[in-house]
């Protein structure tokens, strides 16, 4: 199967800029927002969204990381996974609107785990979900509130998100 690039650097930046505006719009401003990325690439995206919101709204939006490894339901099916740091910004998540950020939304199992993980850390007023790519094939009643690109795909296809901070290049490929 051939690999093709579906999003390039400019596309990713545009998508994240739009998502940032949508977050501000739906939240009616930047009050009580906390952006939490799911490692690894969700954290990078969360930081970028936080920076974009800061540049348009000139408010500092706390961004952090939420590791969901220990909450996954497939730990017995795969080799032991390393954990990643969870970093909850000062001020916590109680009463806040938490926007979870991940690179690809697929089965929804990661987000299910993330909701459980959040519940052990506090009680947000609301939880929203932002993803760069929604590739379908949901196995849970979960949907994203903010989507960079809907990318219908077959389950055999691999979607690869590369980000400059980690991979040296911004691109999304499918193949």
């Amino acid at each position: 199967m051939s690999v093709r690039t579906v999003l390039q650097h400019a596309d990713i930046t545009r998508a994240l800029t739009r998502i940032s505006h949508e977050i501000l719009e739906s939240n009616r401003g930047s009050d009580d927002l906390v952006i939490l990325g799911i490692p690894t690439r969700g954290v990078t995206l969360a930081n970028r969204i936080s920076a974009i919101i800061e540049s348009v709204d000139s408010a500092v939006i706390p961004a952090g990381a939420l590791d969901v490894t220990m909450y996954r339901d497939d730990l017995a099916q795969n080799p032991t996974r390393p954990t990643r740091p969870t970093d909850i910004p000062h001020g916590g998540i109680d009463g806040k609107t938490v926007v979870l950020v991940d690179d690809v939304l697929y089965s929804g199992r990661t987000i299910r785990a993330a909701l459980d993980a959040l519940g052990d850390l506090g009680r947000p007023r609301a939880v929203r979900l932002a993803v760069l790519v929604d590739r379908g094939h949901r196995e849970f009643p979960i949907r994203a509130d903010f989507v960079g690109k809907n990318l219908p795909s077959s389950m055999e296809e691999r979607i690869n998100v590369r980000l400059e901070e980690i991979d040296g290049v911004d691109e999304v490929t499918i193949g």
Binding site: Y71, A76, N78, T83, P85
Partner: protein, 315 residues
Amino acid sequence: MRHLLTTQGLPRDEAIAILDVAEDMAAVGEREVKKLPTLRGKTVINLFFEDSTRTRISFEAAAKRLSADVINFAAKGSSVSKGENLKDTAQTLAAMGADAVVVRHWASGAPKTLADSGWIDAGIVNAGDGTHEHPTQALLDAFTIRRRLHGSASRGRDLDGVSVTIVGDIVHSRVARSNVWLLTTLGAKVTLVAPATLLPVNLSGWPVDVSFDLDHAIAQGPDVIMMLRVQGERMAAAFFPNAREYSKQWGLNDERMRALPASSMVMHPGPMNRGLEISAAAADSPQSTVLDQVRNGVSVRMSVLYHLLSGAVER
């Protein structure tokens, strides 16, 4: 990882993976909800043939924080004191559905016997066997050293170039053995300091330097000085003239504490004989990591249980 029986031969990458997950487990210990759902439905049995309060409760806390069910089995007052052998005990635990068995035994090699026997399918963690090994103690010591040296930048790092001096009853110490293997695997330089009577007769194959002079070893300014407990219960014969003599020659007293660089950490696996191998001032100084070691023990054991009980089963 199927079992954790020894640190001898534990690959560097695997050791670092355990320490890295322990970093995240330490963060869980600071939350309001100190619990993860990871091992729900798993049963961990603490099988202790030898008294040990701190190791047992540390393993118990670790298993409970991961939501495993914990059964404590102390040999005293059990079927073992009525003459049951290890095989029957193991098969009983297997029939109860143990997923992991944490074993403390007075006989060196007992955990390995359990792991190799086929009597029980569970993952085995060696929680100290005779004078052989105590791998989770070494892992928590390595974790404590790494954290004191590198703080929040610890992840992924080893102990390259760190000088560690281990002092005292080496011959009876499983803590010393596990630490020698693990710390050298991680790149540390280990020096043993002890009276000749408390050193193993044959040290060939041990990647260590040996010294008989504690003051000389302290003058080298080690990054870490680890004081071992004088194990009265394992000494049938007299290995040194008396406690005062030992303390004078081999104890970390206030004078030696002053000679130690302010950056050196003072470790002790506990329980301490204050006034014998370590003075109260040394044990309670800011350089002492004794309480950190206890705290980190839970995080490291959570990581070990996670590595044993998660992941596709490799059988």
